[in-house]
Amino acid sequence: MRYLLKIAVAAVLVAAAAPAFAQSSSIQVEKPWTRATPAGATTGAVYLTIDNKSGAADRLTGASSDVADKLQIHEMKVVNGVMQMREVPGGLQVPAKGAVVLKPGSYHVMLIGLKNPLKAGDSFPLTLVFEKAGNVSITVPVQASGAKHE
């Protein structure tokens, strides 16, 4: 009986720890990247691809990282020659069995209040927060400032 209890406790602990793994069972994050930032800049933008393996839609509701004070999900659009950036209200929807790509000219995770400029060749950890999948930790490599993709 005690042996079964130990197994049960262990199973519960493993299940509780699951969201802390780099990839959750439902959300896979691919090709994260960002660009080096100029001196004097206090913001940056992280791009990546989110793959939702599960049969239920999920939402990217936020993110955190030690490199910046706060992170927000934004969409960038150029409308009639005017650059517009808007926070994505309620978070970024990721369809069931589908993907969402965060890339220049579209969505990005905005880094606000960078503590230090991001330098090409560096990388840093970042945690994405999903409504259903919970926390997903990733490592973001920093490309050169003119980079077009990861």
């Binding site: 100029p38 800049a41 206090t42 020659g81 400032s145």
Partner: protein, 205 residues
């Protein structure tokens, strides 16, 4: 029959005038100047007094005598402004010695955050020849009005803000007359060709 024609003619004329007026209003409001190069009808550019990135006052007189590439943005911008200035620095490299024939100016539309110190660090990261201009909100409003640049503060949920702003690079001749635009994400070959033509306007070219 004749009366119908007269009414139709009047309505068409009105529609054309209204459309033209609306078009002009749109370009004014949205900060997208029409691209009729060198035309006296285009009322873009004008005198200004700002503060450069050493903290010294600077006026449009400082730019006269050389063609100018001017960009309006802000340093809190995570994507469009660093990309535009990176592209500009790249085009300056591609121009070789012709690059020295032009003025390059980055004007902030977020003067509250973009002090001369911040501007100096920022533009220096791209190319030493790019100057940063800031000023009081009134001084910035004046130059933005003259250049038909649209900008607007957009609050974010954390109590901060980002800025909507016109995304193009303005090209002026040595007399500060507007001659054209380079649009956001314009191809390198096209942008460099425009800058080469601009450099050819420099005296002694």
């Amino acid at each position: 029959m004749r009366r119908t024609y007269r009414i139709l003619a009047a309505m068409s004329a009105f529609a054309v005038i209204a459309a033209a007026g609306f078009g002009l209003a749109l370009t004014g409001v949205l900060g997208v100047p029409s691209t009729k190069a060198g035309s006296a009808d285009i009322d873009i550019a004008g005198p200004f007094t700002l503060v450069d990135d050493t903290g010294a006052p600077v006026s449009d007189a400082a730019l006269k005598g050389k063609p100018t590439v001017m960009y309006f943005g802000y340093t809190f911008c995570p994507e469009v402004c660093p990309t535009t200035l990176t592209n500009l620095a790249h085009w300056m490299q591609m121009l070789g010695r012709d690059a020295d024939k032009l003025n390059y100016v980055f004007v902030t539309i977020d003067p509250e955050r973009d002090t001369p110190e911040v501007m100096h660090a920022y533009v220096s990261a791209f190319d030493a020849r790019i100057r940063g201009f800031t000023g009081t909100p009134e001084q910035i409003a004046k130059i933005a009005r003259e250049y038909r640049v649209y900008y607007k503060r957009i609050p974010t949920t954390d109590g901060g803000y980002v800025m909507d702003h016109s995304a193009a690079l303005f090209l002026m001749d040595p007399n500060e007359k507007f001659v054209g635009l380079i649009t956001y994400e314009e191809a390198d070959a096209s942008a460099v060709a425009k800058l080469k033509r601009l450099a050819a306007l420099a005296p002694g070219s």
